[in-house]
Symmetry: C2
Subunit: 236 residues, 2 copies
């Protein structure tokens, strides 16, 4: 390694350790770039490269005009474990909230019709929600429901778990689930909802859900902030 | 929708359909932005927004100073199916190649030592490889092997499957595997190898592999181009 790479490695290591040790304020804001450059006796360029490395690892993130912040721990998402969003957060000692953006009948796109095994141009129920972990919006999700199975659901409280609502009101329980996960860039709708720049990286997860009778009941298009989760799968 | 959103939707739909129909040249290069603006009688701004949408979906990608290209189909990666890179590509009608960047003994990072259940500062074998699908570099991978099990492996041909080499030379076969998948941004090393801009989005997959006797034998740190794969998991 040459000298500048050594400096870079030293800064990355020192900052990673400070983050791990909880050295920054409760809000998790880092000192200014100027203060950090002085602290490490380095140039802004080298400092920014170090910050970029930590950002790439998801350890810190930048907010427009506010500076750098320590990323909260990622949520562990295990597709082999059946768990809904609120339960998953709670099991990991985190707080979860759900906000309904809108909910209505609409004509589904061809992609959604294919997932739901419906003819092209079918009417479906679309519920758009924004989900928070510890007050930070991390997941923008569009749920598409086959309306045949969920009559009157638009009158229900849609801020809590759909899993629970399906069970209590319709006696419908999840059976087989298919996950399709694609690293992607955020669409305009998703980035606006998540309050990050359009084109930011994201993980796009499509879940297609069947019920206890193996009928396809709904599909979810989930856009996750790239630094908000990791997928953990163990295979025997 | 307002008028500009309608135009945008029309352009996205028309271009998606042309791509699906294979309308572009074998190399997959799109016409210039100027030609496309004229074709759709729209402004550069709207056209670029449409191209950005298609890029976000992974349908097209941009090469520095060369323009826009149609993305090859994503490779399907199913962590529940045991298949090595070359076999996976072949099963999907694609060609695969592997290039060894370097291979040597080194002192492992703390993260790698933890994965391999070795004491901090242990010596390991590190093999860095670049993997191609249909001539495009899509995966930069660092393999870390516990040297206890793989004596003399650095003398072998490392351009083919390690899975096969483990079996034929060491009678070691994969057992349990743990996958940890994290959307991330590319590090400098990975982006240089993959010939994309540093900080480009990527999927970072850590595989920790055990053998038939449940010993941790190696771990792979895989950096995938974000538009090169999708993960497909079906859960009963």
């Amino acid at each position: 390694m040459n000298e500048s790479q050594t400096t870079l490695a030293v800064i990355c290591k020192a900052l990673s350790e400070s983050i791990a040790a909880g050295a920054f304020s409760a809000e998790g804001r880092l000192p200014s770039e100027r203060a950090l450059s002085e602290q490490f006796s380095t140039t802004r360029i080298t400092l920014r490269e170090a910050l970029g490395h930590l950002e790439a690892q998801g350890l810190i993130y930048r907010e427009v005009r506010r500076g750098w912040f320590v990323s909260p721990p990622r949520i562990v998402y295990n597709p082999l474990q059946r768990s809904h969003f609120h339960a998953m957060a709670k099991d990991q000692g985190r707080s979860a909230e759900t906000q309904v953006i809108d909910a209505r009948h609409c004509v589904a796109s061809d992609t959604v019709c294919q997932k739901l095994l419906l003819p092209s141009g079918s009417d479906v129920i679309c519920i758009r929600r924004l989900r928070y972990i510890d007050k930070r919006p991390v997941l923008y999700v569009e749920h598409y429901l086959n309306p045949l199975y969920f009559s009157g659901i638009l009158d229900a409280d849609l801020t809590s778990s759909l899993t629970d609502l399906y069970a209590s009101r319709y006696d419908i329980h999840y059976g087989r689930v298919r996950f399709d996960m694609v690293p992607t860039l955020l669409t305009r709708e998703a980035s606006q909802a998540l309050k990050v720049a359009s084109g930011s990286p994201a993980l796009f997860i499509t879940r297609t859900n069947r019920d206890q009778n193996d009928r396809v009941i709904d599909c979810d298009l989930e856009y996750w902030r790239y630094d908000a989760l990791h997928i953990d799968v163990e295979v025997n």
